[in-house]
């Protein structure tokens, strides 16, 4: 039999129907929903008198537009309507909801794994492009639009063309101060924001293998910024260890059986991919985005690129727009750029290890007087654990605001908005124009880099700061 890679294996196991002239009809194991991209889908069901086919395979939370301070005071009437609609829809259609008052609430891509809903070998969808995050567990997980949300609710399936496969092999070791965030930013910078279009990625290589689940989630999370709807890492002992004992994960005998099955998902020896790229971990430095897409990124000790470094006319035009929007000049040294806001949070970097890394940098120090800094834990569970370790005290003492969980300043749908013209260092995933507020200027970095920028009021090469150790 022809050797298969993990993407092909999961795909083949979920094909309900494969007919000439049609995409495959793919079965969906887990459907995560949130308040922003689901109301129209439920309305569609209601209009046609349809039901949710598998409420037990569906799980909801609210994260995008909720306040991160005074979380029960929903001042935004439009957002409130959306939140109430989700509550009503979940109630009416019998879907479990981790609402604002739930101890399980959090960013959908943080709580899926935490609760053990995210498991190897599953097909997972959500009306959110960062659903790729769940790929870290060896699941085939991708973002969908609202029509597809409705389709999955009604049929538990999706019509999908079998994707091309891309192997991204990261070998070697990361140098001191270099994190998973830097790895994925480096890859996107090197190959471009649309390189992964049409592909599902398998991240492999010993560097990935040595990463914790949190780190793997950071990598898979930004597959979409690389153009790929999904990216995954084959499950291993690190995965099983993480999953074991989680609320909805299989228990006892069922767990052992699952592990045996999960192990069989690994790509076969000699499995082929449509394309393979190889990265060396040692080549990667702490990265900072300078422009208005995640591919506009440079190592912290370098400068904003000049027009002559653009590869074609189109990129020159993009560079010019980006210089203007970002208020930067070509050739300007990155570590000279001063910053106004620091946001540590989002489905990319808001997990316990991210907060530990940031806390280690700022411990016994203070945020620069010109900087407003906030920490938004990825879930209420992350928040509780961080508080148990006393991380919140380190942040608060250093001058950070310590908030409740939510998407917050990653997309600024709630009140956490960066004012026009202000510069925000962010551990999130998108630096698009207006992403954090109209006219706001976003720089994407790792949590440690964000923490150091908060202290100094400008970017600092984290490799020059001595910290006992980075935890993961």
């Amino acid at each position: 039999m022809k050797p298969k890679n993990i993407i092909e294996k999961i795909w083949d196991q979920h094909v309900v129907l494969s007919e000439e002239g049609k995409p495959d009809l793919l079965y969906i194991d887990l459907h995560l929903i949130h308040e922003v991209t689901s109301p129209q889908a439920f309305e569609g069901l209601r209009v046609k008198g349809r039901k949710v086919r598998k409420p037990q395979n569906t799980f909801a939370t609210m994260d995008h537009n909720i306040p991160t301070k005074n979380r029960y005071q929903l001042e935004d009437e439009v957002a409130k309507k959306q939140i109430r609609a989700l509550e009503r829809n979940c109630h009416e259609f019998g879907i479990e909801l981790a609402g604002l008052d739930s101890e399980d609430q959090g960013i959908v891509h943080v709580i899926g794994p935490e609760l053990g809903l995210t498991l190897p070998g599953k097909t997972i969808v959500c009306g959110d492009s960062h659903t790729s995050t769940h790929g870290a567990f060896g699941a085939l997980a991708f973002g969908i639009g609202t029509s597809e949300v409705e389709h999955v609710l009604a049929t538990q399936t999706l019509w999908q063309h079998k994707p091309k496969t891309l192997k991204v092999e990261v070998n070697g070791e990361l140098k001191y101060g270099v994190t998973a965030k830097d790895v994925i930013l480096y890859i996107i910078g090197k190959y471009g924001v649309d390189f992964g279009t049409g592909y599902v990625i398998e991240y492999a290589g010993d560097c990935i293998r040595n990463m914790s689940m949190d780190e793997r989630m950071t990598i898979c999370n930004m597959s979409i910024e690389f153009g790929a709807r999904a990216g995954l890492v084959a499950p291993d002992e690190t995965t099983f260890e993480y999953v074991k004992g989680r609320k909805y994960a299989p228990k006892g005998e069922a767990f052992s059986q699952s592990v045996a099955y999960w192990k069989s998902l690994n790509s076969d020896e000699g499995a082929e991919y449509d394309q393979t790229i190889v990265i060396q971990g040692e080549d990667i430095a702490p990265m900072v985005t300078w422009g208005t897409n995640p591919g506009m990124v440079v190592p912290v000790d370098e400068s904003v690129p000049s027009l002559s470094q653009a590869k074609d006319e189109k990129e020159r035009t993009s560079f010019k727009r980006a210089y203007e929007y970002m208020g930067l000049n070509p050739g300007e040294k990155i570590d000279h750029v001063s910053v106004d806001y620091v946001f540590i949070g989002s489905c990319t970097n808001s997990r316990l290890s991210d907060l530990r890394n940031a806390a280690e940098v700022i411990k016994d120090k203070h945020v620069h007087p010109s900087v407003t800094a906030i920490v938004v834990p990825g879930s209420q569970s992350v928040k509780r654990q961080a508080e148990k370790e006393g991380l919140h005290e380190i942040f608060i003492k250093a001058g950070f605001e310590w908030r409740d969980s939510g998407c917050s300043m990653c997309l600024s749908m709630n009140n956490d908005v960066v004012p026009s013209g202000k510069r925000c260092v962010s551990t999130s995933n998108r630096n698009f124009e207006g992403r954090q507020g109209k006219g706001a200027r976003t720089h994407l970095v790792s949590p440690a880099m964000a923490a150091s920028a908060a202290l100094y009021g400008h970017f600092v090469d984290i490799r020059k700061i001595k910290i006992s150790s980075f935890t993961s």
Partner: protein
């Protein structure tokens, strides 16, 4: 979904690379619970000044592109968020066809679900059409059945479209109703598979 057969229209040009869905429909408009009425918010931050007046330098505000139902865009159009509000906004604005050298995967899929035809352009066709559309009073026709684009000057090219989605678009089919025709298949899949 409205059936799509053909359209003859002006071609508006937005020749920028990597136009993301945050630009197509900024997040402040995602809090609504309706599917309609997003057209007035399309490209909001580019289209209007702070005081609400139209920005005359934004391409879609050019007089010559008023009423265009075809949009000619740059590569990787629709990258970023999965928000279907982006095709909702473009369709509500009046577009029926988006042509670009490449599209982000989720956006491409979302267009097809909303009767908005995305056409991937080959370099040579892109170059020629761009030149024409940047001029004045240019119109062309997009014929989905025949899978071709042509104008009155004899310029013509064919385009590829997935046969399944072509069928769905031509007839404006309800996709869920279509899938439910396979209900028995889904049931037997659910019955036979081992769940871990």
């Amino acid at each position: 979904m409205q059936p799509f057969q053909s359209v003859t229209s002006k071609v508006a040009v937005l020749n920028r690379a990597n136009v993301d869905t945050d630009q197509i429909i900024p997040k402040q408009f995602l809090k609504r619970i309706e599917r309609t009425g997003y057209g007035k918010f399309a490209f909001f931050d580019w289209r209007y000044f702070e005081d609400g007046s139209p920005n005359p330098n934004f391409e879609l505000n050019y007089e010559k592109y008023k009423g265009a139902e075809i949009l000619l865009a740059g590569p990787n159009f629709g990258c970023g968020s999965s928000r279907e509000h982006a095709p909702w906004a473009l369709a509500d604005y009046g577009f029926k066809v988006i042509m670009a050298p490449s599209f982000a995967d989720i956006f491409h899929q979302n267009c097809l679900k909303n009767g908005l035809l995305p056409i991937r352009m080959k370099d040579e066709n892109m170059k020629q059409l761009l030149k024409k559309a940047l001029g004045n009073d240019y119109e062309c026709t997009v014929d989905l059945e025949g899978q071709r684009v042509y104008d009155k000057d004899g310029f013509e090219f064919s385009f590829e479209v997935d046969p399944h989605w072509k069928e769905m678009l031509l007839h404006g089919r309800d996709e869920i109703a279509f899938t439910l025709l396979y209900e028995e298949k889904i049931k037997s899949y659910e019955k036979e598979r081992v769940v871990f």
